[in-house]
Amino acid sequence: MADYLPSAAVQMTDETFRLLRDFIYEHSGIYFSDNKKSQLENRLSLRLRANNLPDFDKYYYMLKYDPQASKELRALFDSVTTNETSFFRSPPQIQAFQEKALPEIMERRAEKGEKILRLWSAGCSTGDEPYTMGIVIKEILSEKIKEWDIKIFASDISEKALKSARASTYNEYTLRSVPPEIKTKYFTQSGSQFTVCDEIRMLVELQYLNFNDTKRVKLMRGFDIIFCRNVLIYFDDDAKKRFVAQLYDNLNPGGYLFIGHSESLHNISRAFKLVHFPGALGYKKE
């Protein structure tokens, strides 16, 4: 078989983009909007090369009709989600968390005289997400944070990622979306490295957790907000349904689940109420 040249130059036609986009959405719940065409093209060009294919039509055909396609699907998911985590990732989601979901839950809790908050960063990777959650809470409550009992559980299946999360030291690039005043306030700089300050680290409890370990996942109870972004893509439909049903049980009534931006629970769960926030979606347990 001919060894094709690196496919960076191979263009994806609009029609093939739509076919692949729909295929990916159907199989993962992740949606590539029209303006993400070049992103998808870049990411999948590596898959073309790996499979020695001349163009995206052939790649689509392989995904659709090749008996080995399920293996390739995994590789595809990996390549479309290799976007590293970062602080304040997907700002509209963080804004929805900060301005809508958290205040709503805090108000209800405060009214009942239970100043307790339990959050879970499920699939926390190197810790950027749970620390972001901590910073947001501190920004909302300021000194009143002392009146609250707050815990952010952060779990991942990768020991390596958890080790980085424990070190809680990051480079400039990971902090690119962090507003300068937040950076000064919550990080200690040492050369080109930034370490999360103790008052935020204390809010976060890191732990190893495999989502297949149903017994342990069941024990994760009483959460007000769960972030589980870009995790579901690695499960097949049945596993997704089971896991999302479990996350529903893990939440308190009135609690919110946030999944990745452009990820969908359509066909996965009807238990939640889909809430539209400005520029972001959230799933509410009633």
Partner: protein, 300 residues
């Protein structure tokens, strides 16, 4: 009790009127046996209007084939009478109200961004639920908030005050308007739509897009109500209210469901993602309607 500002608006002589020809086209369109010839001849009596209609018919926004549409007659054949009437309505209203920013703190551009987005989203949802509103959903979305433009034009300071109040209180624009201006953009929009002889569904949408249950044209008003919310969630909004909502809990949603539209199987997430980059299309439409018409295009 009289509502002072609505009464003032009713008596403002400077409130512009639609071009005579546009009003005639709308009257003609109400007749069940209206002909292509009659509409085409009527539009031709206003060459700048005819040129604008042709320009829009040829824009990236509407154009379907590769061939240029050089006469109104051809435009009607290719796009259908309804669509040409829709375009005429939109172009006339937009030219009277003005789409250019007035500078300073004016919200004019944001306002039109929101209205075009609402029209586009309505068109998208119309396709999904197969309402087949035949372009009326786009015009309805585009013109659902004309009361706000009238406020901005004639009561600019008070309108800005209402806008600031809605941000401060985190309340809807119409609540703030009611407090500051004593009336709402819905009432004013309804009055203007009637005064201009716009199709009754547009007047209805103006009055009831926040309470579609009261509308006569319940289907299209509900559709616009939903599109309006989705446009706001895309942060294409000119109000101060930063909304969050559950689509399935909306009155409009229940109305459409009751009317037999397949709301239960609708993939709302997907629709939300699909309209994510609607901003580009909004720009395309606005630049197509805002450009100066080429006069010779009208001689068809």
């Amino acid at each position: 009790m009289e509502r002072p500002i609505l009464e003032i608006i009713k008596n403002i002589e400077e409130i512009p009127t639609l071009p005579m020809v546009a009003m005639e086209v709308m009257t003609l369109s109400k007749s069940p046996d209206v002909s292509i010839k009659a509409i085409s001849e009527c539009i031709h009596r206003d060459p700048p209007l005819a040129a604008k209609v042709l320009k829009l018919a040829n824009s990236a926004f509407y154009r379907r084939g590769t061939q240029e549409i050089d006469t109104l007659h051809r435009a009607i054949l290719m796009m259908g009478l309804n669509e040409i009437i829709n375009i005429t309505t939109s172009v006339s209203v937009l030219s009277v109200l003005g789409t250019r920013d007035k500078g300073g703190e004016s919200l004019r551009i944001k306002f039109w961004d929101h209205c075009v987005a609402t029209g586009l989203i309505a068109r998208h949802v119309d396709k999904k639920i197969r309402m087949k509103a035949q372009g009326r959903e786009f015009v309805g979305g585009l013109l659902h908030d004309i009361g706000k433009i009238i406020f901005d034009e004639f009561f600019h300071e008070k309108f800005m005050e209402a806008h600031a109040l809605s941000i401060q209180r985190k309340c809807s624009m119409f609540e703030a308007e009611k407090e500051v201006l004593g009336t709402t953009h819905m009432e004013v929009g309804h009055f203007i739509a009637q005064k201009w002889g716009l199709p009754p569904y547009i007047a209805d949408i103006n009055l009831y897009h926040h309470q579609p249950g009261n509308a006569k044209f319940k289907d299209i008003t509900s559709l616009i109500s939903i599109a309006n919310l989705l446009a706001k969630a895309k942060e294409l909004s000119c109000g101060g209210d930063s909304v969050s909502f559950v689509l399935k809990d909306q009155e409009a949603w229940h109305i459409l469901r009751k009317m037999g539209y397949s709301m239960d199987v609708l993939d709302i997430e997907r629709i939300t993602f699909e309209i994510e980059d609607i901003g580009e299309e909004v720009k395309t439409y606005l630049s197509a309607v805002s450009e100066e018409p080429v006069a010779e295009g009208a001689n068809g």
